[in-house]
């Protein structure tokens, strides 16, 4: 099963290697990984999307907690949470289909951030499945390239991961 795991870590060099290294050396999957500083500049939040059975996910969480630089680990999947990913999609277009592509973008509440005679760049934000659905619709026009950030997530409600 797919799990979104939120990890607060010391904002130090080498921390990302420790996390990524732990996953690879123990044979765990990383579907996506996103890192950014928190409001406290000494702390970063890493969001890892992984999949595995319950035992695997339990081990992933325990092994993350075991790393000395890891402050908190939370499996968002078990609770009510929001998940977002940002994607940039460069789609091939021409005079004839530009309007149609823009219409698809607007259905997904995405923005057009670059236009040229032969292409459009769409910026979209959403949960992974929404992005996947939009990409499916755009593929017939010719997706030239994409850049995805990987999912980030937070739990709903006032509860926050405390240090």
């Amino acid at each position: 099963m797919r799990h979104v795991i939120s990890v607060l870590v010391e904002n130090q060099f080498g921390v990302l290697t420790r996390i990524a290294g732990m996953f690879s050396s123990r044979g765990f999957n990383i579907d996506s990984l996103a890192v950014g500083e928190t409001t406290d500049p000494t702390i970063s939040r890493i969001t890892v999307v992984s999949h595995g059975d319950d035992q695997v996910i339990e081990q992933i969480i325990k092994q993350l907690r075991k790393l000395v630089d890891v402050i908190r680990v939370q499996d968002l999947t078990g609770e009510s949470h929001i998940e977002r990913e940002l994607v940039l999609i460069k789609v091939a277009c021409n005079k004839g289909n530009r309007a149609e592509i823009m219409e698809i973008a607007s259905i997904f509440r995405a923005n057009i951030v670059d236009v040229s005679a032969g292409s459009l760049v769409i910026e979209a934000v959403g949960a992974e499945r929404k992005i996947d659905a939009m990409l499916d619709l755009l593929k017939p026009f010719g997706v030239l390239e994409t850049a995805r950030t990987g999912s980030v997530g937070l739990s709903r409600g006032p509860n926050a991961l405390k240090v």
Partner: protein, 576 residues
């Protein structure tokens, strides 16, 4: 106080109570060596290969429970340390290793003797640091010693650039306390979990204590014996748990697993409740997971490392914390119980399936040497081993009664570990008999340390059980690879040796007796069973580093044996 990075390190070693440092110098650590011989610094032991510095620190740590320390240079010095770090990491041994590093400005430029130490040691250490500024150094040192010997212990590496060793800190003060917000091991154990553990033990008819390295200390031993006696629970130990429970105790089932006793494995197979204390259900213990302890109703697992719990075997009662803190609380909750039938059953297995081998008057059996030594030493020694058949025979035939008296590389299985580790143990206990029981193959992996042993007056005794081959691999080849003895023969059979190579007393190189002499040690050799006892007596009486070589039966195998990936029902032979 004004101090350079190197001086800060020396001061930290003193403040942390470090009495000995093992190491080897080099260009990138020369500033540290420049103050290492100053008055008041810890004793320094110069090894002959950095791997040995690591193993010696490890042996010192296993024997004492204190943190072992080694100091080496950058690049090859640091990479030579790799095996020792991995060995200590697998067996949870507290160690702080200082590696010199090229000057900060050169890092990443493929400088002379540069290697990415924090990169390569990440998967084989508990934690590591690259010290980028001398301001960070006091905190890093304090944290390193704290991390190494708290929670689940392990090796910590501090990579120490040359310019940081030289840099001056104007207002140096060694921190008195340490607080790492991301590292707070829980030690006390959750009371509700402990209560559940007591309930599980209470309702069990056939509980079995299964004890590992995490409980191999004096405090736990006393508690384990009390628990076993109060609730009539027999006790088996892992390889690293040997000595945690006195093997002379009537409830001792001794070692379990691949080469464990039949009775320990029968007890595990038949028990209805496993009480695991500081053990990690390693594959050499469980064998085939689906056939492991099939009659169990409950597993209570007391361990300081949550990630060890339910890793391979699902545990019904996890208790996270320090065994020494949790066992007293558990004992308090438990009422005395009589389990006479279960105890009798276990003792019957013990009586009917003893460890056995045949000693005739022609060829020395390796087990015989170990038993004779045990008798002569009256069991009072620190026994260190290398890795292979001799290690398993020692684990089986020596009756360990005290914690920290059996030092052996269990997790990583490092040949060459024993001799340097014995040097570390001998430094900690200079008046104790310290014996490295070795195979001829393993001993050759770090025999250069004979120089260290003699020069430092560390009178370690080395028992070389010479079977002329790499016995454990040979055994697998015999049993599972149609006797295809590829690469396991250590004698020059089938090869031409140089025509001018001098003739030897026996057809084996090196001549261990002459080798010993070349290093200033004493060499002894026994070729017949009746020579075993006098040779061992002479070995102990000789006031020198001694290699006592025993020419043993080449085809002797280690039994019992549960083949890798098999279950108890596939156990082979109690009799060689």
């Amino acid at each position: 106080m004004k101090a350079t990075g190197a001086q800060i390190l020396m001061d930290a070693l003193k403040k942390e109570g470090v009495e000995v440092v093992f190491g080897f110098p080099g260009g990138a650590i020369i500033d540290v060596f420049n103050v290492l011989n100053a008055p008041g610094s810890p004793r320094f032991v110069l090894v002959r290969h950095e791997q040995a510095a690591g193993h010696a620190a490890d042996g010192y740590a296993r024997a004492t429970g204190k943190t072992g320390v080694c100091i080496v240079t950058s690049g090859p010095g640091a990479t030579n340390l790799a095996t020792a770090l991995a060995t200590a990491y697998m067996d949870s041994i507290p160690m702080v290793a200082i590696t010199g590093q090229v000057v900060s400005a050169a890092i990443g430029n493929d400088a002379f003797q540069e290697v990415d130490v924090v990169g390569y040691t990440r998967p084989i250490t508990k934690h590591n640091y690259l010290v980028k500024s001398v301001e960070d150094l006091p905190r890093v040192l304090k944290e390193a010693f704290y991390i190494a010997n708290s929670g689940r212990p392990g090796p910590v590496v501090i990579d120490f650039p040359k310019d940081v060793q030289q840099a001056v800190l104007e207002d140096y003060e060694y921190p008195e306390t340490v607080d790492i917000r991301s590292y707070k091991p829980s030690v006390e154990g959750n009371m509700m979990a402990i209560r559940k553990a007591a309930e599980a033990i209470d309702r069990a008819k056939k509980p079995l204590l299964y004890v590992g390295g995490g409980a191999n200390n004096a405090v736990c031993q006393e508690l384990l014996v009390r628990l076993a006696e109060k609730c009539q629970i027999p006790c088996t130990t892992t390889l690293l748990g040997l000595g945690a429970f006195p093997e002379t105790h009537p409830y001792a089932m001794e070692m379990l697993g691949m080469h464990g006793t039949q009775y320990a494995n029968y007890a595990m197979y038949n028990c209805d409740c496993i009480v695991a204390v500081g053990a990690r259900f390693d594959d050499r213990v469980t064998g085939k997971l689906s056939e492991f302890a099939p009659n169990r109703q409950d597993i209570v697992h007391i361990d300081i490392d949550p990630s060890s719990i339910s890793k391979s075997i699902k545990v019904s009662v996890p208790v996270v914390g320090d065994c020494a803190r949790i066992l007293p609380k558990l004992l308090e909750l438990l009422e005395p119980v009589e389990r006479a039938e279960w105890i009798r059953q276990c003792q019957d297995w013990k009586a009917s399936h003893p460890l056995a081998y045949k000693q005739d008057d022609k060829v020395i059996r390796p087990q015989f040497v170990i038993e004779q030594l045990y008798e002569i030493a009256k069991g009072d020694a620190i026994v260190v081993t290398e890795v292979g058949q001799h290690q398993m025979w020692t684990a089986q035939h020596w009756k360990f009664t005290k914690p920290r008296t059996f030092l052996s590389s269990g997790g990583l299985g490092t040949m060459g570990y024993g001799f340097p580790a014995a040097l570390g143990a001998k430094i900690a206990f200079p008046d104790k008999l310290v014996v490295d029981i070795a195979g001829d193959g393993s001993f050759q992996m770090n025999m250069q340390e004979l120089t260290t042993a003699v020069n430092e007056n560390l009178q370690v005794k080395i028992v070389v059980l010479n079977n002329g081959c790499l016995g454990m691999v040979r055994q697998w080849q015999e049993m599972f690879y149609q006797r295809n003895y590829s690469g396991t023969n250590l004698k020059p059979v089938g090869h031409e040796i140089p025509p001018d190579s001098p003739p030897l007393e026996i057809d084996y190189r090196p001549d261990f007796a002459k080798l010993a002499e070349a290093f200033g040690a004493t060499g002894l050799r026994a070729t017949r069973p009746d020579e075993v006892r006098p040779t061992l007596e002479k070995m102990i009486a000789t006031r020198n580093v001694v290699i006592a070589e025993f020419l043993v039966e080449e085809e002797e195998n280690v039994f019992p044996m549960i083949p890798a990936g098999a279950g108890v029902r596939q156990m082979m032979g109690g009799m060689a």
